[in-house]
Amino acid sequence: MVTTPLQVKDTVGIEAPHLERLFQALTEQGYEVIGPTIRDGAVIVGRLTSVQDLPIGWTDEQDAGKYRLKRREDQAYFGYSLGPQSWKRILEPPIQELWSAERGAKGFSLIPERSPSPSYALIGVRPCELRAMEIQDKIFLGGDLIDSDYKSRRDAFVVVVNCSQAGGTCFCASMGTGPAATSGFDLALTEIFNADKHYFVVDVGSVRGAELLSKLAHWPATAVEKEAAHQVVAETARHMGRTLNTAGLKNLLYRSYDHPRWDNVAARCLSCTNCTMVCPTCFCTTVKDATDLEGRKAERWKEWDSCFTTEFSYIHGGSVRATVKSRYRQWLMHKLATWNDQFDALGCVGCGRCITWCPVGIDLTEEVRAIRGTDSTARGETP
Amino acid sequence: MIQTLEPIIREHPFFHGLDEQYISLIAECATNVRFEEDAVLFRQSDPADHFYLVREGLVAVELMIPHRGYTTIFTAGNGEVLGWSWLFPPYRWHFDARALHLTRALAFDGKCLRTKCEEDHDLGYEMFRRFTQMMTTRLESTSLQLMDLYGANA
């Protein structure tokens, strides 16, 4: 065992079973360990008590409107791609009480809801998901106003897992968001699984990551091991399920408000909101005010919302976006065009969830391709 | 000596760009008129022999609706042109018009102008061009009024 203290940017190796010690060390430090686990036939995000809770030896087959789990021939810990849930479940809970109020003689008094959120350790954050979190940071931490609740949750210990398998609908390579992460994490793991060895190549990304990793048995990664890790990621990048050409994308879409393709997709879209629920960057919420039957107590709750509902754009008299066409257009334009003007980045990270979980298999890479294909303006613009 | 109305016609935006020769032709059909407050300019089904160019004041174009009384459809104020029924047979007014305030206007003799337009189709084109534009503006405005934009479900 090495005795010199670890530093940021160090790369070490750890035996796969030693991941259990990582879980223990995190728990000892007071973190609640959250990560991928199998429930109801899918890989979801939940509490992990041990490494055994991971989907060991499982993989998934994904395509437009299709998701199936399948047994692997090996016992890889992270041999699957993405499930329907993203880390926004943890960082912005789907339902949150904001405050409650009580009616009294002099009006009403407000009691803010202040249940402190636990310190989370997020295991198995994929590079695209990490990028999605950074994109959301711009919204909740990057402007004049700071969402302090989001800020404290965002302080979670992040253990990235670089992807050793490309999902059927993945296109992180097109979006520049993966399959490996280079910063923004505490630790980043690349799983190496071959006939004689099963280990992780670990990149240290932070001081607290270095401190935690020091508690585990590890060795300085050799050049061969580092190369093996690079090869795993390179191989993943070569097997992306989809591609998206992002050149001049924002302006292409700004030119295409009246493109006939919107009618085409509107004929298929059910406006079911699945895509917004599974998307790791979608952030829309609504506010619900409720009262008890006596009218003495009131509560305000914040809940996830979706631009695909007719209520979303309702102003006295009717909805601004009454047609499915306008709502699909709003979603896609926001994700790939207006987001850029709002937050200086594209809203899509290429995770492919919206393609997988759309009940009718709408594929936004295909929609963009169709719009670009009949765009008459000169191509090759810089975004 | 009768003061010529040519300067008034020449300066008016409605006749902007009209050839000098036509200005004098049109002036031959024009007279200065004045309506006291509440004076009636014309009533529905009266012969439509004139159109008016309001110089100063306000004229309400109204319709008498049984049980509801007189309802104002639109008003014509300073600088606005009123009346197109003189252009087409049977040359009868479709609405009533009443001066809301003391109003000074130029009244143009419809028969006189129609004759001149028949004689010179270029003049006819100039007049019809201007009236068509005025009518489309009026139609647009009326459509917006109809939409009840400020109504409860706007």
Partner: protein, 287 residues
């Protein structure tokens, strides 16, 4: 209290941002059949400093919250007013509030009518229906700084003579200040001795210098579209034309995503927009 026109950058933490402040209703005044003005003061005595054109989120206990423009004189703070019509459950509940009742307020939010950019220029204000309410604070401002502006013209269109808002105030201003006011209605009985027709038709004849005018426009979107058309015809540039837009709002602080209008958030990039900025999408259906 003199409000400053400078944009304030503050780092504020939630949940404070979603927690209303308690205000007390001083009175409810019926303006027309379905439109009323609520006048209120803060329970804790702290004045709300706001700029003309900004809005608050008003909360009625147990019913809900709605965005409403502030319609009072900024210098009359701590007393503030909101004028609204009954359009849903919350505004209906607001309409039953009495003096002494409590109401919650979050704000002020949004951009303001840039009165500072209209200095030494003619100011043209075009209001349609309840659109006069968000412009009223700007009118107060202009009146109390009258010497900084050249001609001030208000063109106000509404449904009928019975729907004219702030009638006495308009007459007072007309009489007291160098301010040209022209009112028009969509429909009227013959007892109405004023203009009948949509407000945009008054623009061609209105007495302002197109080459040196700043225009503030507020009303139903269709009315604003036609007003913009007439302004363009007169040569008022997009850079000097400002509109107040409206969209569904839930948070008022740019986080819930509801108020998006193209790439803008109406709650923080608006509601007052320079026409130049929104011209590409203004009038496009279902944006």
């Amino acid at each position: 209290m003199a409000p400053t026109l400078e944009h304030q950058v503050t780092e504020t933490l939630s949940p404070q941002l979603m927690l209303p402040d308690l205000y007390r209703i001083q009175r409810l005044k019926m303006e027309t059949g379905d439109t009323f003005t609520l006048e209120m003061i803060p329970d804790n005595g702290v004045s709300l400093s706001f700029l003309p054109g900004q809005f608050n989120m008003l909360y009625v206990f147990g019913v809900g919250e709605v965005p409403i423009s502030i319609s009072s004189d900024p210098s009359a703070s701590p007393v503030i007013q909101h004028t609204t019509r009954v359009v849903g459950t919350v505004t209906k509940a607001m309409g039953t509030l009495k003096a002494g009742d409590a109401i919650g307020i979050r704000g002020p939010f949004g951009t303001h009518w840039p009165v500072e950019r209209a200095k030494d220029r003619d100011v043209l204000i075009v209001a349609g229906g309840i659109g006069l309410a968000p412009l009223r604070p700007a009118l107060f401002w202009l009146m109390s700084h009258r010497e900084q502006y050249r001609k001030i013209v208000l063109l106000y269109g509404t449904r009928s003579p019975d729907d004219i808002l702030y009638r006495h105030e308009l007459e007072h201003w007309r009489g007291k200040f160098d301010l040209e006011i022209q009112v028009t209605v969509d429909r009227a009985a013959s007892t109405w001795r004023g203009n009948v027709g949509v407000v945009s038709t008054m623009i061609p004849r209105a007495p302002f210098d197109s080459s040196n005018t700043t225009a503030f426009v507020c009303g139903p979107e269709v009315m604003m579209l036609f007003t913009v058309m007439e302004l363009r015809k007169r040569g008022v540039t997009s850079a000097h034309t400002y509109l107040s837009m409206e969209r569904n709002m839930k948070c008022g602080i740019g986080w819930c995503g509801h108020c998006q209008f193209g790439p803008t958030f109406v709650c923080k990039n608006g509601p007052v927009f320079c026409l130049e900025q929104i011209e590409p999408i203004l009038g496009k259906a279902e944006i």
